[in-house]
Amino acid sequence: MSCDDAHMLLDAYVDGELDLLRGVEIEKHMKGCQACAGAVENLRALGTAMRNGGLYYPTPASLGPRLEKVLQRAGRSEAPPPRRFGWQLIAVAASLLLAVYFVARMIPGIPHDASNNLVAQETLDSHLRSLMPGHLTDVQSTDQHTVKPWFNGKLDYSPPVTDFASQGFPLTGGRLDSLSGRAVAVLVYQRRQHLINVYVWPAPGSADASVGESARQGYNMIHWTRGGMNWWIVSDVNSGELNSFANLLRAAPASVPPAP
């Protein structure tokens, strides 16, 4: 390595940003080159001086509370009309909300939007995570008789698994994921180049709920509750195709009931 070449790389060398091979070359070069060895020593001294020089500005104590106030205001302005309750009013509102929540849960057909929204966001986050390399499937198989038993012992229920290859939605595998702090079975299907994640988990005591459909950040989501199971499916396939896939899932034999 020539001195000019080495010179360009000295900073990266000192910063530990060179690959091993080039690092070794630099070291070899420095053995015979006083100038470069001296330059590296200077860079190191400068770095040490800067890191130990008390140059990091401490955050003023007032900044945290100030940001908190501003963020809360920002949060409120996004919310429906800002309301300021006394504590009593808040208590009344909370119990009212609780009552509404339970009534809403008892009436089939009224989706409990508040919790659904949380689930929707969590499901979407999980879907996006799964698209990162190596995160999609724990068990890779197109065979429902391989995928289904794989969940044995990993969950306290057995998710219904059906392959829809002949209808154009082949099963490609499954994995364990967690939503709202519980382990959940995820079945992965494919539609041409698109992936569909299907989340299934038990909904003990919940009445069947009709299909809810939504779109978030460019992804389509469909969910329903049936036979004591919650179903959420997420994908970037168009909503028409995702709907026909949802229909297939719902028409499939509701195989094994959840374990008690």
Binding site: A35, G38, A45, L46, L55, V103
Partner: protein, 186 residues
């Protein structure tokens, strides 16, 4: 009844947004302030810039799906600083692309001299750097960011990060050596 359910939906969603925001972005307030303080070179402006950056970050938080809240936030702080610099001062963007490489300065074995500079001298020398150089040095030496992360924050490719750091250090060394000699002579 349905109306009530509808009305109460948003606060729940917001609560979770604020909670997620507090988890992944708020812990990096120290880094945000330090960067803003170095780029604006003024404590009051730094606080204003951080506040503005946090508001922007909160507004755009739905678009954040990465795992590194620090880099994401620092990029917003950096951009907010630049907007602020443009509006409030003549930008000090004196980025001459071919400053002569100070080879002799770089390689003089004066590490001992560099070790003896006091922090006030360092602070001054850093403050005198063009803002792009200053940000690269601050992110690298004080924040410990990798070249890749610096590139993400500053929105420039790796090669640019590398050359900015090299130029910044070569300038710093020149200034410091000059001042140290002056100090020694006085």
């Amino acid at each position: 009844m349905l109306g009530l359910v509808e009305q109460e939906r948003d606060p729940v969603q917001l609560q979770s947004k604020l909670a997620r925001f507090e988890l992944s972005v708020v812990p990096h307030m120290g880094a945000a302030y330090n960067l803003a303080r170095w780029l604006t070179r003024n404590e009051h402006d730094a606080e204003d810039v951080v506040q503005e950056a946090y508001l922007r970050a909160y507004r755009f938080f739905e678009g954040f799906h990465g795992s590194d809240g620090r880099t994401w936030l620092l990029a917003i702080v950096r951009n907010t600083c630049y907007t602020w610099l443009q509006q409030n001062r003549k930008p000090t963007l004196e980025l001459e692309e071919d400053i002569p490489e100070l080879d002799s300065e770089r390689s003089n074995p004066e590490a001992l001299l560099l070790r003896s500079v006091d922090s006030e001298m360092l602070r001054q020398a850093l403050d005198d750097l063009p803002v792009e150089f200053r940000e690269a040095i601050v992110l690298r030496e004080l924040e410990g960011l990798s070249y890749k992360e610096i590139g993400e924050v500053a929105g420039v490719p790796l090669g640019t990060v590398m050359s900015r750091l090299a130029r910044a250090r070569s300038r710093l060394q020149k200034t410091l050596k000059g001042r140290a000699r002056q100090g020694g002579a006085a």
